[in-house]
């Protein structure tokens, strides 16, 4: 009986972390789809989301307002980043954009460090630091918030990609840049949009996970790598894949640190990534990339 309770507890923790990874992976995928680049700034946006929320909570005294404002602000940072660094590139291929995002991540990190400080910051959960007890299993209320908010964001994103003209244009440009350009899609603005969405998703992940983990300027690389691993696991570029990959990675980590040791939690993401690269490079839900000649 006790093990069953423990398992359920690990399960809920894993789903909570997994939801956060799913958001990061979604952001990672959107930029990958529109540019073919690995986005190294993704993790920095997660950190920014948490740290800016922490800063604003003092001023706003409403957590909800602080989160929304922080996420919007970081979304604007994403848009600005693209306009200032990607858009002026003379030869915007995937290699150069990847390098640019490395530059962006360095600048973002040092900006966070210089402006918001080196000390880890945190705030209480959205319903305080309460834990719910369901049939003997104690679940952090923040974990439920994480799951609910992630779900809501995914629904909004799904509607955006399926229903709106902008979302369809983004998908078309991701599928075939040239064809999309021919039918009148402004490919440049879809790249801009993808950076905005990626920053939003990243910041949201940061804002909702910080009550559980604290946020500090140097966590970006780790978040970025986890998001990438989750995206690879689900299938790079696939949006449902981001969800599946994020949850799978979150659960693997939770059970890994429960059964093996929490010291190896981070090594698990890496081992999973290696395994995926070896066995099924296109991930659980992805299709191998086809290049039209």
């Amino acid at each position: 009986m006790q093990t069953a309770t423990a398992l359920l507890q690990v399960l809920s923790a894993g789903i909570g972390t997994g939801a956060v990874y799913a958001l990061v992976a979604l952001g990672f995928n959107v930029v990958f789809k529109s540019t073919g680049a690995m986005n190294f700034a993704q993790g920095e946006w997660v950190v920014m989301g948490g740290m800016v929320t922490a800063l604003l909570i003092g001023a706003f005294s409403s957590i909800g307002l602080a989160v929304v404002t922080a996420v919007v602000l970081v979304g604007i940072v994403g848009l600005l980043s693209e306009r200032l660094t990607v858009q002026p590139l003379k030869k915007p291929d995937a290699l150069v954009i990847t390098l640019v995002t490395i530059g962006l991540s360095i600048v973002s990190r040092s900006l966070v460090m210089l402006v918001l400080g080196k000390k880890p910051v945190g705030y209480s959960g959205f319903s305080g630091n309460t834990a719910l007890s369901v049939g003997g299993v104690s679940i952090q209320s923040q974990t439920l918030w994480i799951i609910a908010i992630t779900l809501a964001f995914l629904v909004v994103m799904h509607a955006f990609f399926e229903r709106t003209i902008l979302g369809k244009a983004l998908r078309a440009a991701a599928a075939d840049r040239e064809a999309a350009a021919i039918v009148g899609v402004n490919v440049g603005s879809t790249v801009l949009l993808s950076f905005g969405i990626a920053a939003l998703a990243g910041a949201l992940a940061g804002a909702i996970v910080t009550p559980l983990t604290l946020a500090s300027y140097d966590q970006g690389a780790m978040f970025g790598f986890k998001g990438f691993s989750a995206a690879m696991l689900g299938g790079l570029g696939s949006l449902p894949g981001a969800v599946v990959g994020g949850l799978a990675l979150g659960l693997l980590e939770a059970f890994g640190s429960f059964y093996i040791s929490s010291d190896f939690k981070d090594a698990i993401a890496f081992a999973v990534l290696l395994l995926i690269l070896f066995v099924r490079p296109s991930g659980l839900l992805g299709r191998a990339d086809i290049v039209k000649v």
């Binding site: 390098l99 640019v100 040092s110 070896f278």
Partner: protein, 333 residues
Amino acid sequence: MASIEAKTGPMTHSRLPRRGLSRHARLALVWLALAAVPFVVPNAYWISLANLALINLVLIASLNLLMGYGGQISLAHAGFFGLGAYASGILNVRYGLPPWAGLPAAAVVAGLGALLIGIPALRLRGHYLAMATLGWNAILVVFFTQLVGLTGGPNGLLGVAPFSIFGHALDTEAKAFPLAWAVAFLVMLAISNLLASRIGRSIRAVATNELGAQSLGIDSFRTKLAVFVLSAGMAGIAGSLYVHINQYASPETFGIAPSIMLLVMVAIGGAGTFYGPMLGALIYTAVPQILLDYEDAELMLFGLGLLVVLILFPRGLAGIPAALAGLVRRRRA
């Protein structure tokens, strides 16, 4: 079908006119000039900086081979540097092997470290290597820190012997300089040689257009893997130099942050230019000395430097003269 050579007859007129010195002569001249460094600098501290700059040059030039010519991003270069340093240092401290045995061993161990991650990550088209190596470097640091029995853990590996020649230990900065100077020369020479061959051309071809390269019979996977392993092996050599000259190594030297900095230096010096890494090594060694009290600003400076270079001078500082010359030529035309 008759071979093309036979049909077109002997070629007497076909060499492209080349200006100036051969690549070997140019490199030799530059290195002769560098030999003067210990005689013109004011004190031993400066020589130690020169040694550091030469080790950094090996690191940056080898990363440039991968990144600037091979078109692949590695964020584990400092990790491979560390694999080399610990391999060479541990063989010496724990197993009593001389540093000269550690030098090739460092190259092999670092190369194997690259092979392990390169085989899965390079089979795909795209820049998966960048992210995979980021994770790999993080794991390597965990090993360097956790395997206390071998590496000395966070306190570092102590008591590493210096190189010695005929019983003379190269245990001062001035004595170590000729070694660092010679090794850096040999690495630069090897890179130059490689680039001036069909192998070097295939590396660049795969980076520019993988599909086109494959259609001409180039195995793009093996080409990418070879240049990745080679570049890591050179970083391993730098690691061996480092550990025996400093007689010490500790994990933070080999983390993700230095890996990112090396990459930044490749880009700022001039990715895909032969002498760009010399500028990169100079900046990488000098700037922290100048900004000694502003460590936090350093990160920002280098990040902005990377962005500016990528946007305005894709060939880095070393590419600026060529870019200007091109501009002038176009004006005249």
